[in-house]
């Protein structure tokens, strides 16, 4: 428990750094692009104007930097990211609300599948060291090196346009057939059909990384004396693999999960653009191309905070899996 609290404090610092970066980036940038954008909207509501000027540091009555900083922090805490300047007068938060579930479900499901599949394959490759799975290693290295969006382009080309018309080429669901998003069968099947190719992209490109890491840790762990002792006692292979070796090899894997997540999320947001998938990645790009600065910054914060939250969850799992972590908590 003590460990979790301390990690929580670390993530609070990381979140604060992200917030502060987000605050200073528009102020340190050369040029006055932001000023010009806001000039296009002379009749912004006073409250919206205040939120944007606190976030971006522009406008007439902006006050001192310090007071702007606190106004900005206060706004973020209340999920007030200001008014969207591209789709005025919608608020940034309401636009975000419609984008987050798409990315969360897609990237979340695909990452979890890739993690379990990769770890299982890694255990097998480590146990049967030198077997057929090891011969696939060079191919896996290649898969790992393919940029997410390039694989996405290939899959769209092969499965949506050229050879098979199995899957739709983009977007999250087929709006032209009159399906309305909601918890009903028509929409869910339609959305799942649209999500298969994007999810497949994430799984293929990230599964190799999990597998290679698990294999390497597994090989090192299998050389440990306690594993040899377990085998010498005549325990079943299955018990040796899972209860003795894999359980310990899983810890570095879990810790790697947190760090790799930022990478997967980054790859996934570029991939969304290929599929025109209506998540935060597409939102980020359209915000950048229309100079929609409040939206850009809100999306950055949302992505960063979700990665931090996922890291925290991983830490909880580490504590659950590692008795040493629990004993540290007990000592203090």
């Amino acid at each position: 428990m003590a460990f979790i609290l301390r990690r929580l404090a670390f993530y609070a610092v990381a979140a604060w750094v992200a917030l502060t970066l987000n605050f200073f980036i528009p102020r340190l940038m050369p040029g006055n692009a932001v000023e010009a954008i806001l000039g296009r909207f002379p009749n912004l509501q006073p409250s919206a104007y205040k939120a944007i000027s606190a976030m971006l540091g522009v406008g007439k009555n902006k006050g001192s930097e310090v007071s702007q900083y606190f106004t900005y922090l206060n706004n973020v805490v209340h999920f007030n990211f200001g008014t969207d300047v591209a789709q005025y007068p919608a608020s940034v938060s309401s636009l975000l609300d419609s984008e987050i579930p798409w990315t969360l479900v897609l990237v979340g499901t695909a990452t979890v599948i890739a993690f379990f599949l990769g770890t299982a394959l890694g255990i097998m490759a480590g146990w049967r060291h030198g077997g057929w799975l090891d011969r696939l290693l060079p191919a896996l290295t290649f898969l790992q090196a393919i940029p997410y969006f390039f694989l996405a382009l290939l899959l769209v080309y092969i499965f949506a346009y050229k050879y098979f018309h199995l899957f739709p080429s983009g977007t999250g669901y087929n709006g032209s057939t009159g399906i309305v998003p909601g918890w009903h069968w028509d929409f869910i099947t339609n959305a799942v059909q649209h999500a298969i190719l994007p999810a497949f992209t994430i799984v293929i490109t990230s599964v190799a990384g999990w597998m290679l890491q698990m294999r390497n840790v597994m090989i090192t762990t299998l050389g440990e004396d306690y594993v040899i002792a377990a085998q010498a006692k005549g325990l079943r292979s299955r018990r040796v693999i899972f209860t003795y070796a894999a359980r310990n090899a899983l810890l570095p894997q879990l810790q790697g999960f947190g760090l790799a997540l930022g990478f997967v999320v980054s790859g996934a947001i570029v991939m969304e653009i290929v599929f025109s998938y209506p998540g935060v990645g597409l939102g980020l790009l359209s915000a950048v191309s229309s100079n929609d600065y409040p939206m850009m910054q809100a999306i950055f914060l949302v992505i960063t905070f979700s990665v931090l939250l996922a890291n925290l969850i991983v830490d909880v799992l580490v504590v659950l899996a590692d008795p040493r972590a629990r004993s540290i908590g007990a000592q203090r």
Binding site: F10, G31, A33, G130, T141, Q144, A145, V265, S266, A325
Partner: protein, 342 residues
Amino acid sequence: MTALLTPPVTTVATIAAPGWWRRMPLKAKTGAVLLGLFVLTAIIGPLVAPYDPGYQNPSIAVAMKGPSGAHWLGTTSTGQDVLSQLLTGIRLTLELAVLVGVIAMVLAVLIGVTSAYLGGIWDELLQLLTNVFLVIPALPLLVILLGYLPNKGQTPTILVLSALGWAWGARVIRAQTLAIRNRDFIAAARETGESTWRILAFELVPNEVSLIAASFVNTVLYAIGASVALAFLGLTDVSSWSLGTVLYWAQSQDALQLGAWWWFVPPGLAVALMGTALVLVNTGIDEIGNPRLRDASSASRIAGHRVQPTDPTPVLALVGSERSRLGSFLHSFSRSSLLEDK
């Protein structure tokens, strides 16, 4: 301060002994050859490119045609030669990635070595900074930074990528510096009255060359991936030819819908192969240090039998250092504090 298992300090000299090429793992050889080809292409590519990559010839006879004798990799929808774009693009992409690698590694060495050498609170603060930069997802931040920049040329892209790419290198270099800094030869240098800067620059850093090389390769890999992704999003200068901008134009001019595979497959494949080469070189470096990771085909044979090394390879011992009270307080927030023996 006790280092239980003193790690063997690998220097470049031991790797570069006679016969080193023969003893290199197959993967590393493949990677090195592939990488060499790309470097060669980057050097001579723009010189041997058959056309000007930006030259447009939108007549129906030329534009949007598949591979042919005149255009080996076909043409774009405006009649540009894809092969010329590829040859020019490899140079720009590799140049950017290497520069980012160099700048980020200088930052990583400075921060990693300073952190380990100063110790105490400074160490903990720099570690905190490193860990924060590791956990914040880089790409969204890069997108925002480039989104604000009015001038999106090569130089700002390089600076922004380096500013976010140093953290992992700094972390491994710090760990290695901690392991080395109490070795006898450092103590001897200190006794003979060498200045701290001399010790750092001429005694300590040369012993980390292989580690720095490995993190350099990783950073170059990150830079290729990130810069190609950013260029694909149209966030860099789209009028210069890099592999990412070729993909950007292919995507924005509907190469997919028009079935022009020759337009987007070669640049994407080039990125993937470049990445593979770098990963192979890196696993090769890893396997030189830890032979147990090699696959069975490269296991040594003695009298016709395959032999796998069985003894556990020495792993860097966790070096506990005397910490100040504030230092140990700060350290207790890190994930590594969990796995140290109390």
